[in-house]
C-alpha cells in the first residue's frame, strides 16, 4: 500500500480522473479507520450524538482521580509496555527458529528429488489448511501435561506452526531460482561447506530470507487464538491485550483506542525498515513460487 501511494503521489500530474478517484478511495480505506481511533484515544467523554468528544482527555486529566486515556496506556498498570516487549521478544525468537528450521527444508525441497516429495510439500502446508482452533485445544491439553502451558517456550512453539509453511514456501522459491554453480565453484576452490553457506549461499538468499522473516515476524506478532490458549492469560501479547479491551462489543473507550493504535506500531516500524532492504522482485518471487 505504502509503495502504491508513494508512486501515485509522485506521478500525480499524469493520473486521470479515475486514477485519482481510485487513489483517494484506496488511501481513504487504509487511513479512514484510523481517524476515529485517533480522536477516540484523546477523548474523555465521547457519547452519542456528539460528532467530536464533548470533553477531551487533557481537560479531564487534572481532576480525574485515576489515570485516564494515554496516561493509563503508558502507565505500567495497562501492561502495554510489557505486552509490546513480549510480542517483540516472541516474534524475534519465532523468526530465528523458523528460519533455522525452514532453511534446510526449503533447500532440500528446491534442489532434491525423492519419493514422497509432493506429500512432504503438502504436509508442510497443512497448518494453513487446518484451522488453529481445531488443533489449539488438543495442544493446550498436551502442553498442560508437559508443563509448557503459560510459558514463553510454549507460545513460541505454537507460533512456529502457522509460520513455518510461509517461510518454507518463500525460501523454496528463492532456492529454486538460485543456480548451484556458485556454490559448486566455491567448493571447487576449496571452501568448507560452512564457509560456502556463510559467504556464498546466505548472501544470495538474503533478500528472500529477509522477506520470509518479515512475514514470520508479522504473523507471529498478530496471532491471537493460539497465544490466548497457550498463554492462558499469564503471558499477554498485544493481540491478547487488545482482545481483552474490545471483546463483547464494548464501546471504544480512550484506552481501547490507544491500545489499538499501539498494536499497529510493530508492523508499521518493520515495514518501514524492511522497505529499505527489500526490492519489489523479492516479494514477487516469494509469492510466485
Amino acid at each position: 500500500m505504502i509503495r502504491q501511494r508513494r508512486r501515485g503521489l509522485g506521478d500525480r500530474d499524469r493520473l486521470g480522473p479515475f486514477g485519482r478517484f481510485y487513489l483517494t478511495v484506496v488511501v481513504g480505506m487504509v487511513l479512514g479507520p484510523f481517524v476515529p481511533l485517533v480522536i477516540g484515544s484523546f477523548a474523555f467523554r465521547w457519547t452519542w450524538p456528539d460528532l467530536l468528544p464533548s470533553r477531551w482527555w487533557w481537560e479531564a486529566r487534572a481532576t480525574a482521580r485515576l489515570p485516564q486515556g494515554w496516561d493509563y496506556v503508558f502507565s505500567p498498570i495497562s501492561r502495554v509496555v510489557e505486552s509490546t516487549g513480549n510480542t517483540i521478544l516472541i516474534a524475534i525468537l519465532v523468526t530465528l527458529l523458523c528460519a533455522a528450521i525452514s532453511l534446510p527444508a526449503a533447500r532440500v525441497l528446491a534442489k532434491e528429488r525423492f519419493r514422497g516429495k509432493s506429500f512432504v510439500e503438502f504436509f508442510l502446508l497443512t497448518p494453513l489448511i487446518v484451522p488453529e482452533i481445531a488443533v489449539g485445544l488438543g495442544i493446550l491439553v498436551t502442553f498442560i501435561q508437559l508443563g509448557l502451558a503459560g510459558t514463553y517456550w510454549g507460545i513460541i512453539l505454537v507460533h512456529l506452526i502457522p509460520t513455518i509453511p510461509y517461510m518454507v514456501r518463500v525460501l523454496t522459491s528463492v532456492f529454486q531460482g538460485l543456480s548451484d554453480d556458485y556454490e559448486e565453484q566455491a567448493r571447487v576452490l576449496g571452501a568448507s561447506p560452512l564457509r560456502t553457506l556463510w559467504h556464498v549461499t546466505l548472501p544470495m538468499i538474503l533478500p528472500g530470507l529477509v522477506a520470509g522473516g518479515l512475514f514470520t515476524f508479522l504473523i507471529s506478532s498478530n496471532i491471537f487464538l493460539l497465544t490466548f490458549f497457550i498463554g492462558g492469560g499469564r503471558i499477554e501479547t498485544l493481540p491478547t491485550l487488545l482482545f481483552s479491551r474490545v471483546s463483547g462489543g464494548g464501546a471504544l473507550d480512550a484506552v481501547a483506542a490507544g491500545v489499538a493504535l499501539i498494536v499497529c506500531i510493530p508492523g508499521i516500524v518493520l515495514l518501514v525498515i524492511t522497505e529499505r532492504f527489500i526490492k519489489e522482485e523479492v516479494f514477487a518471487k516469494g509469492f510466485g513460487g
Partner: protein, 456 residues
C-alpha cells in the same frame, strides 16, 4: 467465548480419556501437608505468613475489564503484598469461566494439589458451583483467616446468609467474601425523564410499546442477563411469593413446579421481544432482537443512545462511570423493578491445585481487611464484602464518607426493593430455558424446561 467453552469441554473429554490411567491426580506431598494442617487449624497465622514468604508469589485471576479496578489492585494490593515478601501476579480475565475451564483441564491432565497455575480467583455463583461440584476447592478456609472476624459466619444469625450461601448454594466457607453487588438500572435523563422511567415490568411493557426498541438486556448465559431473567421470574411468580421458591435447588423444586412458577415470566419475555432493540416493533417478524454479550456491550448501546435504560450489576457503577467519562453527565439510577432487585456477594476462591496456597490465604485475608475494603469502595465503588455492622463506629463513618453517590435513588428505596439471588442449580435451568424458548424460539415452554434440565 462460547465456542471456546464447548471446545474446551471436548478437550477435557480427551484429556480424561488419555489421563484415565492416572486416576485421581496426586499432588506434591509438601503442598498436601500444608493443606491438611492449615485446614485442621494447626498453623498459627505467623506460620502461614512465613510459608507465604517462602512461596514468594501469588497468582490471582480476576475479571480485568475495569481500569479503575486494575489501577486499584496495582497501586494498593500489590505494594501491601510486596511488604509481606509476596509478588502479586494477576491474570486479567474477560470471563471467569476461562480460568474455571483451565482448572478443570489441569486437574484432568493430572495436576493435583500444589501443581496448578492459579492461586486465587474472583468468583461467585455458577463458577463456584462448578468447582464445588467437582470438589476442586482448596477447602473450608474462610473462617480460618484473621479478617473473618469482620464476616458473619454463624448459621444461627440471619446476617450470615449472603456469606454462607452463594446463589443459594452453600459456600461451605470455601470462598471468602470480597465484594457486595447490587443489580441496578441506569437511565439517561436527557432522553428518558425520571418521571417517565418504568418502575415495574408492566410499566416497562407499556413504555416499550410506546417506544419500541429503547431497551434490551444482556444475553444469558452471561450472569447480568441471567439476573434480568431471574427478576422477571420473581415478579411474575403466580403465587406472589416472588423470590422465595427460587431459593430451592432444581431437584427440590422439581420440573413441574418450576414450569408452573416460571411460565408467566417467560411468556412476558416472549411478549416484549418484538419491542426490544432491533425487535422490529409490533410486527416482530421483521426484526430480530439484539442482546448484548456482556456489560460492556450493554453500556456501549446505552452510551451510544440506542437504548434509554441499562440494567446490570454495580451499585455505584453509574456514579463511577459518570466520573470517568464512560457515561454522559445526565445518567442517573432508578429503582427498577420495585418487585425485586437482586443483591448478592462475590468471593475470593482458592482452587485445590493452587501452587502457592499459603500466599493465597494471605491474599484472601488482605483483601478482606477493613482498610482495603473501604479503600476499594472509595476508589472503585465496589460494595463491602465484609459486614459493616462488625466494624468500629469510626470505620462505619469512613464508609459513609467515601461511598460514591447512588445517583438519584436512596438507600431506603433500594433496601426496600432488595431481594436475594436464585439458587445456583436453578440458574443453569433458567438460562437453559431462556436459550431454548426465547433465543431458539422452540415455542414449547415445557419442552424447553425439560431440555434445560437434561443439558444441566
Amino acid at each position: 467465548m462460547h465456542v471456546r467453552r464447548s471446545l474446551l469441554v471436548i478437550a477435557l473429554a480427551f484429556a480424561t480419556l488419555f489421563g484415565a490411567a492416572q486416576a485421581q491426580p496426586q499432588g506434591t506431598p509438601e503442598a498436601e501437608a500444608f493443606r491438611t494442617s492449615f485446614l485442621a487449624g494447626e498453623l498459627s497465622w505467623d506460620q502461614v505468613l512465613e510459608r507465604a514468604r517462602e512461596e514468594g508469589r501469588v497468582v490471582w485471576a480476576h475479571w480485568g475489564g475495569s481500569e479503575t479496578l486494575n489501577t486499584w489492585i496495582d497501586t494498593v494490593v500489590k505494594p501491601e503484598l510486596a511488604a509481606l515478601g509476596i509478588t502479586l501476579e494477576t491474570s486479567r480475565l474477560t470471563n471467569t469461566r476461562d480460568v474455571v475451564d483451565l482448572i478443570l483441564a489441569e486437574t484432568a491432565a493430572g495436576r493435583g494439589v500444589g501443581e496448578g497455575s492459579t492461586d486465587a480467583i474472583w468468583i461467585n455463583g455458577e463458577n463456584f458451583f462448578t468447582l464445588s461440584s467437582q470438589s476442586l476447592n482448596f477447602g473450608s478456609f474462610a473462617d480460618l483467616l484473621p479478617n473473618s472476624q469482620y464476616v458473619h459466619f454463624d448459621p444461627a444469625n440471619p446476617a450470615s446468609g449472603p456469606n454462607l450461601f452463594d446463589f443459594g448454594f452453600p459456600t461451605n466457607k470455601e470462598e471468602m467474601p470480597w465484594s457486595g453487588d447490587q443489580y441496578m438500572c441506569a437511565i439517561d435523563t436527557a432522553r428518558l425523564p425520571r418521571a417517565e422511567a418504568p418502575g415495574t415490568f408492566a410499566e416497562l411493557e407499556t413504555w416499550l410499546r410506546a417506544n419500541p426498541g429503547r431497551f434490551t438486556y444482556v444475553r444469558p448465559p452471561h450472569y447480568n442477563g441471567n439476573t434480568f431473567v431471574q427478576t422477571v421470574l420473581y415478579a411474575h411468580n403466580p403465587d406472589g411469593t416472588t423470590y422465595q421458591p427460587f431459593q430451592l435447588s432444581a431437584n427440590e423444586l422439581g420440573a413441574e413446579e418450576f414450569l408452573r412458577l416460571a411460565t408467566p415470566g417467560y411468556e412476558y419475555l416472549q411478549r416484549i421481544e418484538p419491542f426490544l432493540l432491533g425487535g422490529g416493533g409490533a410486527d416482530g417478524r421483521r426484526g430480530s432482537p439484539i442482546y448484548p454479550e456482556d456489560q460492556n456491550g450493554l453500556e456501549a448501546l446505552f452510551v451510544n443512545g440506542e437504548i434509554d435504560m441499562a440494567c446490570q450489576f454495580g451499585m455505584y457503577n453509574t456514579a463511577v462511570a459518570v466520573e470517568t467519562g464512560r457515561f454522559a453527565e445526565t445518567a442517573e439510577n432508578v429503582i427498577f423493578p420495585t418487585t425485586g432487585m437482586i443483591k448478592n456477594k462475590n468471593f475470593i476462591g482458592v482452587p485445590v491445585n493452587a501452587p502457592n496456597p499459603a500466599a493465597a490465604m494471605v491474599l484472601a485475608n488482605l483483601l478482606a481487611s477493613p482498610d482495603n475494603q473501604i479503600s476499594k469502595l472509595g476508589a472503585i465503588g465496589y460494595v463491602l464484602g465484609i459486614d459493616a455492622d462488625l466494624l468500629s463506629p469510626e470505620q462505619q463513618a469512613q464508609i459513609d464518607a467515601v461511598a460514591p453517590s447512588l445517583m438519584g435513588v436512596t438507600y431506603d428505596e433500594l433496601g426496600a426493593a432488595t431481594v436475594p439471588d436464585t439458587n445456583a442449580s436453578l440458574v443453569d435451568v433458567i438460562e437453559g430455558t431462556w436459550v431454548e424458548f426465547i433465543e431458539r424460539r422452540t415455542g414449547d415452554l415445557a419442552a424447553s424446561v425439560a431440555a434445560a434440565l437434561a443439558n444441566r
